[in-house]
Symmetry: C2
């Protein structure tokens, strides 16, 4: 063996280089980064919530090419603090009220770390049995917490899988639905397939339809109205399907939403599934945001009727304390997914797969490689427990209700859409006095009265966000521009909601004082 150790090509192993995964160096640097992140959370409230940088800011301060020699982690972390943190929009800030929350938690973070630490590639059972089996178990746990029908659980011959995002969940189920139909009627009929959603459905549906080869003219974004609180009307769906069927088209897939992105509207599951059933349509329920709330008995009714659906998904990274990404998808018929998405190359063949006793998740999703995502969900559920998780979610809903009360108590504002969950849509009201002033403010802009009040609210929102004190986004519906205030950031406490409201008021007052007399 002496000749081997003296091999000059192999110096690295016995030489002066520290192994990039050396356990003691890992320990030292790991503790350093924990302190860095803990300090970040301690200070996150002080940073402007929406990043204030200009496009191209980073290129000006980073080198044009990679360093040839190593730089210390200390130096890198200094650069993170100096150059990266200012370019971050702080989703974990307690003053973050934009889009939907990205609700981090210690348990979710720790689960993610452990997953990164093991760094296994769990494409099939044998590649790490624990990764597959824990996912089976935890998805059944969460399914039970949601009171999903047993047919969606492994214990009822359905099953759950953790994917990255809703976009993937919809893409997979749509592919499965497409192939189920085309295998019967012939692949040449792809151009007859019709996909249904509402004008409030997440853009993921349209993108998935586009990817699987559904012509954009075969995508139906059925109009919703105020009368149905912007939920998809079963009558409208039926009318659309009938007119499609009449001309020889084939209804394929419906995506119903519990908690739409703009205003958290709810599509009525039961009657929609009843309509879909008549035509053999695959119904996917996108509960990306609001699904989490349905572990609370008082919210569960929003998914009544789910027993008529084929698949159901929620994003545990949105409002369930799991770190991004963690989209939980349940299907009644896993074979439909597997039939569309399975591959069986020689290099992955193994005894466990051949025994047919195991799940190989690679056949339930787009990608082959997959992270051990169930760890974080398991950590979250165990470390907080069902009772606390409900408590946390309710606290966010209550903070939204508090904000709603604050808005309602100020006559200059109005609630635009009712708050089902933890998102409040409001605006400065178009009072006669204000509209009179806006007529002057926008005198040269050729705006209608409706456009004037919308523009005014848009400017108000931009002014709030530019201050860095709070970050909110917007929704436009029925011609109305609303400011959208979403609670759910984990660090948010009641005091932040109260301050955010004060910020809104102050910005309005500043605007008003700028009006010419």
């Amino acid at each position: 063996m002496g000749s081997l150790t003296s091999d000059p090509e192999l110096k690295y192993n016995s030489g002066s280089f520290t192994n990039p995964l050396d356990s003691e160096e890992f320990r030292r640097q790991g503790h350093m980064i924990i302190d860095f992140i803990a300090d970040y959370y301690k200070n996150v409230e002080k940073y402007p919530v929406r990043s204030q940088v200009e496009p191209g800011y980073l290129q000006k301060v980073l080198p044009e090419s990679a360093p040839n020699n190593p730089e210390s982690m200390e130096t890198i972390l200094q650069d993170v603090q100096q150059h990266i943190v200012p370019g971050i929009t702080h989703w974990q800030s307690p003053n973050y009220f934009a889009y939907f929350p990205s609700s981090g938690s210690i348990a979710g973070f720790l689960g993610e770390m452990l997953s990164s630490g093991f760094n296994i590639v769990g494409f099939n059972w044998i590649s790490s049995p624990a990764a597959t089996e824990l996912e089976n178990i935890v998805m059944d746990w969460l399914g039970q917490m949601l009171k999903l029908p047993k047919s969606f659980l492994f214990s009822g011959n359905g099953g759950g899988v953790i994917q990255g995002t809703t976009c993937e969940a919809i893409l997979c189920t749509l592919t499965a639905a497409r192939d189920r139909v085309l295998n019967k009627i012939g692949r040449e009929n792809i151009s007859k397939l019709i996909v249904y959603g509402s004008d409030q459905t997440h853009c993921a549906l349209q993108k998935a339809a586009q990817i699987v080869g559904i012509d954009v003219k075969n995508f139906r974004a059925i109009k919703t109205t105020k009368s149905s609180s912007y939920g998809l009307s079963p009558d409208s769906l039926m009318a659309q399907i009938n007119s499609d069927v009449e001309v020889g088209l084939i209804p394929l897939f419906l995506c119903a939403t519990i908690g739409t992105t703009a205003i958290t509207a709810v599509d009525p599951l039961k009657p929609l599934c009843d309509v879909a059933k008549q035509f053999g349509i695959w119904v996917h329920v996108d509960a990306a945001y609001a699904g989490s709330a349905c572990i609370c008995p008082e919210f569960r009714h929003f998914i009544d009727g789910v027993e008529g659906a084929d698949s159901f998904s929620l994003n545990a990274h949105k409002w369930f304390f799991a770190t991004l990404d963690c989209c939980c998808l349940w299907v009644k018929d896993p074979r439909a997914l597997v039939s569309s998405l399975s591959t069986n190359p020689e290099y992955l063949k193994n005894k466990a797969t051949e025994s047919m006793q195991v799940v190989d998740y690679k056949d339930w999703q787009i990608t082959l490689s997959r992270r051990f995502r169930s760890l974080k969900l398991w950590f979250v559920i165990r470390n907080y427990g069902v009772a606390n998780l409900r408590h946390f979610l309710r606290s966010h809903v209550n903070m939204a209700k508090l904000f709603e009360r604050l808005v309602s108590g100020d006559k200059r504002f109005e609630i635009v859409f009712p708050c089902h969950f933890a998102v409040v849509c409001f605006r400065v009201s178009p009072s006669p006095v204000l509209m009179d002033k806006l007529k002057t403010k926008y005198v040269n802009c050729l705006l209608s009265e409706e456009e004037q009040i919308n523009e005014f609210n848009r400017e108000l929102l931009e002014s709030i966000n530019a201050s860095g004190k709070a970050y909110m986004t917007h929704a436009v519906l029925g011609g109305i521009y609303a400011i959208r205030f979403a609670t759910g950031a984990t660090l948010t406490e009641k005091r932040h909601v109260v301050v955010a409201w004060t910020v809104v008021q102050q910005h309005l007052e500043a605007f008003q004082s700028a009006f010419k007399p």
Copy 2:
């Protein structure tokens, strides 16, 4: 404000619950998990590499439903040690030589942690400018390190994006290629489109083709042969294309591979691109595994000809020290991706996007939400530096060469396919003496001589893997079953390679001593 704090619904915020993202509790538990993972790395060598559990093992020890009350992180980590670790196949073990490596590193892990800590959802520029801009910069860095033509870099009007896996990269580029053609010739012609790969191309291509609606009969897995070292022959490609065109079909997409999954074969890029160019075919280069090595000048020639391709991808989580997942994709024409994959819902509208001065990565990929993946790549490149990264890769190649020498020095074995990178394919040779013994061993099995030697090697591999002392996988090519030994696990040192070889020899000797005299 007094009336607000006494609101009974809001007790949570002022009550006894610790916030799930409390910075000091984060610090305490964060340090705990770092120590847990550091200890895991310290001990990982002691665990059986391939998990030894039986299907269903975990269900027997975990509760059937979620706990109502919280459980401490200490309890959870005990369960991880007791129940999860035995179910893990240890990809980070120095004795892991299976599939391809999942090369972890401290820098990659730290970058991943920071990304989880910020937990931003970087779908567009404004959602965290640093996430987009750092990705732009780092992808240009890595592109330069690979000496990709400038047309693939942002600085040359192309650009790079970090996706999860090669499956996504192929799916996105194939969708873009499909739409580029169908927009010209009409969507009804989808059934005429042909996708090309070889019989060695990764199964991701077939799956992507299936998802985007290419009929399986329009998928060409062109046969490779020993004479071209299992690389795709440009002549075979040309012949196949000609016969497709002759019957009115339309060549669409070619996936060429640098380092195939089975035996790391290399498709000859330049002549393949020359053929493709004549037919306007989109060429994607899948360098998932071997691309990393091309930062070393002595390996760069393997991607000569890449200037003729449309897109190029490598998995930095395979052999470039980034934690899973980190697939780097470069395209010459980002507009083709954006044109197929963009969405523009009202709720995502913002000034930065409208200014057209920024990249919104949501339009370069399948999913909307995306993690801050560039941090880990930036950390890896800076913390090790280009010189060390080359050194690490070379050390893995040298360890594979060492193993190859060890195999070659034992007359009972033979190298089956030449080793380009860090994967060695070998087997027990079908010597006349051995074949004579196998005739007796398999007397009741109705196997040809070829099948007998294959079965013998299969049994040998299973015996090695079942021992837990090393984990290797297999490849079957040209009727030959080979044992496949891949170096690249970060902790592997020369001594592990030597021991693994001893394990192979010992298992063969045990088999031989079991032969009846």
